[in-house]
Symmetry: C2
Subunit: 801 residues, 2 copies
């Protein structure tokens, strides 16, 4: 079964027919359920066969040493890796003493589906055991969006021919054996092989609880299960537990057509500080609440939650069902990642897999939060409050690096820098400005002055301080930021990266403005008028290099003088380049892994003329290889802006299908949250032309020929703005809340009480030439509706693991 | 006892009076004996107490894994570390059953001395045992310069009061326990704790042999000892051996005034390929030869060898005895490092200690070989032949990095790249040009066309190919070399490093010229006229950045635009900076660890005007902190050239006293060969003004006020040129061989048959201002004759270990 055949196309869900053992890990990521606190990979109920078993709790990690062949001052010595916590979703089935294992016996049918409207992962199987007994198994699984600590499974087995003896073993298993990666650092593997040290175990009745503690990071993790069991008259139930296992067994004999139904409530809790009884009680309480709600109640809550979400946040597309599915898949997973993370990070893979060690990068602030800002602002509030909680660590890091203010980590779980290669890690100081931009975007969209005062201001101030101390004025008064790494990971440690300098400029300005708005709070942070003036001055004097000869912006000083990468001489199998060429060669040549200057043109579109945007885009298209999934969406946005609508459409599809089509070849390790969020950005900021640099939201809607209609909604302050775009007309409405002022192609419109406002959608003259990409790196043409996209492995963050 | 008190000042040797236990490791380095093949640290005969026991064989190393927190393509996975091989210099003494151990009993006198004229490390001790027995011990130790595999010890114990029972245990000990460094990588320590696996042991009569093999690198190491024992009538001798030990014991009773004398011959052999019997026999043969020569014979050979060396290579100084001692110390150790290395590397520490893992760097070609070229050219021939033997590895490395030709390793023992941090390792491609320059220098000085044809040509061709593929022509036809690291390790991965570009330019030109001289051999290497033309073209078009505004050369593109390091705000204890500040901060600011642009002005003085040299020197003096020992000598040379003679004198003394005064604080790990060689360069190229860029040797002699006379000799082709400089006159003579043409202050002189040629020594107008260094980093003023130099720890190669 090919990758693309795996999942059927359905505008409101993903379904898999049959079972592709080789693609299991990928399907486990696609079918992962999460609420941002608990993450369950889409493993089969019975645990095996599996691609990669995975149960994650946001913030639960183990420490591991970071080794260096040659050490250096300020290198982080300790890394953080997400761990697979106690697996509570296991339900094993014995059919006349033969384990229900799809690798044996006969699989008559197997179907799994995930509906974005109810968030249920449902499964239906008909299976004949090696001894010839046939059973129908159906299960439903959810991770509650309303009860943060709770997940649940409904599991039913029906005898097709009977009588058959059935044993259901519903389990909690800690320290599951994981598939080993031969290339991994053996010490990391050793540390993480059995990361949970047992502290407590109990089982009785239908309930079991296990409490463990991580060895080095000292986190206490409790998991509990409780059950409702319904079956024929006689069902024996027993409970057992040992250090790493809790098990409730239900045994019965089913006649033909009879069913045994088990509802399993699962609860998790963890803490770095609370006592064992406290954490255990918290889990038992969550179990009690879940039991009180019941399976149907949990399902109903989930449906309500999601119904509300979709009613206000759906992105509708006419003309491309596959893209419609992909963008809802994207929104659904972005929601899952952020919904209940609550003062924890949103990792690059959400809680869908162990990729990148479970770390969060700039992806969150630069891609995920801008989407959540307009659909789930409370999640953005929480995510930025998490950053705020890490300020003490970021200040320490700044001090260690000889800088003022705060230096946020390039990759982390708890807040400490975990990058083991500083040129592509710590040197990417732009993460500070990305966080600041997320703060500004959130406050602008929500008007949440309380947040700005209590959390946002300090984030802005401390990042502004960092920039002021990182840069310097040169002899002619230009403010320069040298020796840093921009978003493109095929360059490093360069001077005056345009993206970095422009983002720092905004950061400095917004910090000064916020300090003016909140003078008392700013004073409490030690900001005086001199300091704010120094920020304004640095921002005003910010140096932005420009290549007059070529008429384009170099990505950083000297970039356009560098040798061009030999694209013609680079065969397809040598991508991603970082796995086949040394950094030194990538860094010194003109080859771009991911949008950098082009991202600057999106995030700081106000700093470029139309003409510059067109020339820059064409220039960087020729040298951008998209070895990162954090690129296509940005290229889509700017392609749309410069009128390359078909190209924008191609890139939008690439971003949206990154995981459903496994374009990067590594969906197995978890979903690409930034690319999924990026698909939404590509539609809204690309074809919708949304920008939020200015006082009011600005739109420049224009559709590619492949789409008939695009509509989306945005929460702005307490109102809801709805935008519907066809090739003829763009219609703005405010179905909820007070009026909103927007710009449509430069015209200011007041949308509100007076009902819908429609304006013609601009007709874009198609540029004579489609921009050119490096040979073999062109995005798949979407209008061909081929379904399968070109592309190989993508690696979002250097280095490869 | 302070550092400077340790060693008395003597123009022909180093002597230590008393014993400073805390400074032992340093003294062991200073008193190390070596012939370039065998290296024995100056450990006490009885082994303990010790600073760091050390016995090294050039080329014997163990492999160890190089770990990375985040890996990357082309990162070396395996490192090489020099190991402490079987210790053959041990002679333990029991006095009435009490071990002769200076930590116990009463030390009446202790003196060690090393005479540069006979290469003997001599020791005289008078000691009273805890039980009150007094003995006089005297020993002599040598590592033969004439018998490459041989070392020897003469050990005499005399009873002051008798009768006393004496046992001498003369040993071979493998896998000696070494002091542990807590900060070391634990895995490295584990791998190297007992690196020798026993293969063979034998002891009988007065002879013992041990053969071991290294576990991972698979090198077979044999060590043998044989003895002559003279004493009173009855001396019992016994022989024993075990896996890691061979022991010959001599037992007797001495009456007052009686002596027991033991001569110990020690032989070593190792091979990666030969069989155990072959390596064992080789050692036994060397032992036989040594015994045949006898102690007195070995001493006489040594004295003759060194007598000849000094008669033709001494550098004489009048007016500064301490500097005279230091420069002879320097020449002696440079000789020891290179004399018999024979197709092996000359490590940064010679064979005097385990510093830098026993690796060789560019130090050899850039500092050590230019000295040996004019005094021991055969050693240069051998050292460059070693590089030639590593060409297959260097070609593989080039292919791995996507380059043509050969990429030589930044640090290695056998030839493979062992640097675990590429920005300060592999990216320092200049090592290729440094090797090429050493080839050119050797051939120019010796006229050794056979070497050029057989070895030199290929080294020039393969490095030229590397440069041609590393650089590229820009739109206006300039040849640019981007993303490389120059000598200064406080910058990395920059564009158009002036040193690198100028050295590459020479490399390309000389390769083209050599290919023209040896057309058949060049054709056999695949060089055609087009390729040679491409080299000439790239050399002619080489881009050398220049800052017109400041009137100085930036070290690399953009360097002079960078922020100045905050020298005023950097307290003395923060040096060396790399231990207290992150690379990212060092790299992006104007702060120089070691001469880079200034070294370019020495090595490629022809590429700068007088005026540029003066301005550049003054500019870089202000920002050069000399956290490397590879700097003072170069600063001395250019200081002298620009007329800053007193400053040149200060720097010369700093380079020369680096180890005798332990200015870097790490002499304990081994001597700084490049600084020692650099002291000679500072005198000859600095005050002598020697340059060899041109057809003939050019001199511009000028003495600082502190020196009355400087004379030195140089082997040029088959002649010997002697130069004697006083403040009034410079006299050139050719005591041996045919006439030589030189330039004196621009005047061409033919020196030879007609006897001495004298010319006035130029009187230099002292510049009004002494160049300024960063506060606290000024060299100690030599004219004050303070003896103690300022300075802290120096670390020649990033990163710190």
């Amino acid at each position: 079964m090919s990758v693309t055949d795996s999942f059927s196309i359905d505008p409101w869900g993903v379904a898999e027919h049959g079972l592709d053992l080789s693609g299991q890990a990928r399907a486990e990521s696609v079918f992962a359920l999460s609420n941002g606190h608990i993450g369950l990979r889409g493993n089969l109920d019975e645990g095996e066969p599996h691609g990669l078993p995975g149960t994650y709790l946001n913030g639960v990690f183990e420490l591991r040493p970071l080794p260096y062949a040659e050490g250096g001052y300020g290198y982080p010595e300790s890394g953080q890796s997400v761990i697979n916590v106690t697996n509570g979703k296991l339900v094993r089935l014995l059919v006349d003493d033969e384990p229900f294992d799809l690798r044996y016996g006969g699989l008559r049918s197997h179907q799994r589906s995930l509906d974005f409207r109810d968030g249920l992962l449902q499964r239906r199987v008909e299976w004949t055991s090696p001894a010839g007994r046939t059973v129908r198994v159906s299960s439903g699984r959810l991770v509650s969006l309303t009860q943060r600590a709770v997940a649940a499974v409904e599991y039913t087995v029906e005898a097709v021919d009977g009588p058959v003896r059935i044993v259901l073993q519903s389990e909690l298993v800690a320290n599951e054996q994981l598939p080993t990666h031969s290339e991994a650092d053996p010490r990391a593997a050793a540390a993480l092989e059995a990361p949970l040290v047992p502290e407590f175990q109990h089982a009785s009745g239908t309930k079991a609880v296990l409490v463990h503690r991580t060895r080095y990071s000292g986190l206490r993790v409790a998991a509990g299960i409780d059950h409702l069991i319904e079956g024929p008259e006689r069902v024996d139930v027993s409970a057992e537990s040992s250090d790493d296992q809790g098990r409730i067994s239900a045994t019965t004999v089913l006649g033909a057509g009879q069913r045994l139904r088990l509802v399993k409530f699962i609860a998790y809790g963890w803490s770095a500080t609370r006592s064992l009884p406290a954490v255990r009680d918290q889990v038992e309480a969550a179990l009690t609440a879940a039991r009180y709600t019941g399976w149907d109640g949990l399902v109903a809550e989930q449906r309500n939650y999601l119904g509300e979400f979709w009613s206000e946040n759906d992105i509708e597309i006419e003309g491309d069902v596959e893209l419609q599915q992909a963008v809802r898949f994207a929104l659904f997973h972005v929601l899952q990642a952020g919904a209940r993370s609550e003062e924890r990070a949103i990792p690059a893979k959400g809680l869908t897999g162990p990729g990148y060690d479970g770390h969060s990068f700039w992806d969150t602030e630069a891609f995920v939060l801008p989407v959540l800002t307009y659909c789930l602002p409370a999640a953005v509030n929480q995510a930025l409050r998490w950053r705020h909680t890490t300020l003490p660590m970021a200040r320490d890091r700044a001090a260690q690096l000889g800088l003022a203010g705060a230096v946020f980590p390039w990759r982390t779980i708890r807040g400490e820098e975990c990058s083991g290669y500083w040129p592509a890690g710590t040197a990417a100081f732009h993460i500070g400005a990305d966080i600041a931009a997320a703060v500004v975007g959130y406050v602008r969209a929500t008007g949440d002055q309380e947040f700005e005062r209590e959390f946002g201001l300090e984030l802005l101030v401390e990042t502004a301080r960092m920039w002021r101390s990182l840069g310097h004025h040169d002899a002619v008064g230009r403010f320069r930021i040298e020796g840093v790494t921009g978003p493109d990971e095929y360059s490093a440690v360069a001077d005056n990266n345009v993206y970095t300098n422009l983002m720092a400029q905004s950061n400095l300005r917004h910090a000064a403005e916020a300090a003016t708005r909140h003078q008392l709070e700013a004073a409490a942070l030690g900001v005086d008028t001199e300091e704010a003036a120094a920020w304004r001055d640095a921002a005003a004097a910010m140096f932005i290099p420009y290549d007059e000869k070529l008429g384009v912006h170099p990505q950083a000083d000297g970039f356009t003088d560098h040798q061009l990468w030999d694209f013609e001489g680079t065969p397809g199998e040598k991508y991603p380049l970082l796995l086949h060429y040394p950094y030194f060669d990538l860094y010194r040549k003109q080859v771009v892994k991911q949008a950098d200057l082009v991202l600057a043109m999106q995030k700081r579109g106000d700093a470029f003329t139309e003409d510059q945007k067109a020339r820059n885009f064409a220039y960087y298209e020729r040298i951008t290889v998209r070895d990162s999934s954090l690129s296509a969406c940005t290229q889509a946005v700017i392609a749309a802006e410069v009128g390359q609508l078909d190209l924008a459409y191609d890139y939008t599809a690439e971003a949206a299908l990154m995981d459903l089509h496994d374009l990067g070849g590594n969906t197995a390790d978890g979903l690409h949250m930034a690319s999924l969020a990026g698909a939404c950005i590509a539609l809204v900021a690309g074809f919708g032309g949304l920008r939020d640099h200015h006082e009011h939201l600005t739109f420049r809607p224009r559709l590619p020929s492949g789409l008939q209609r695009l509509s989306f909604s945005m929460k702005v302050r307490s109102s809801l703005l709805r935008v519907e775009i066809t090739h003829d007309t763009t219609t703005y409405t405010v179905p909820r809340g007070g009026p909103i002022t927007v710009q449509h192609d430069g015209e200011t419109l007041r949308i509100g009480a007076a009902g819908a406002v429609s304006r013609p959608t601009a007709i874009v003259e198609v540029p004579a030439d489609r921009c050119v990409q490096p040979p073999g790196r062109e995005p798949a043409r979407r209008h061909a509706q081929a379904g399968v996209q070109a592309g190989g492995v993508v690696v979002d963050h250097l280095p490869a693991e």
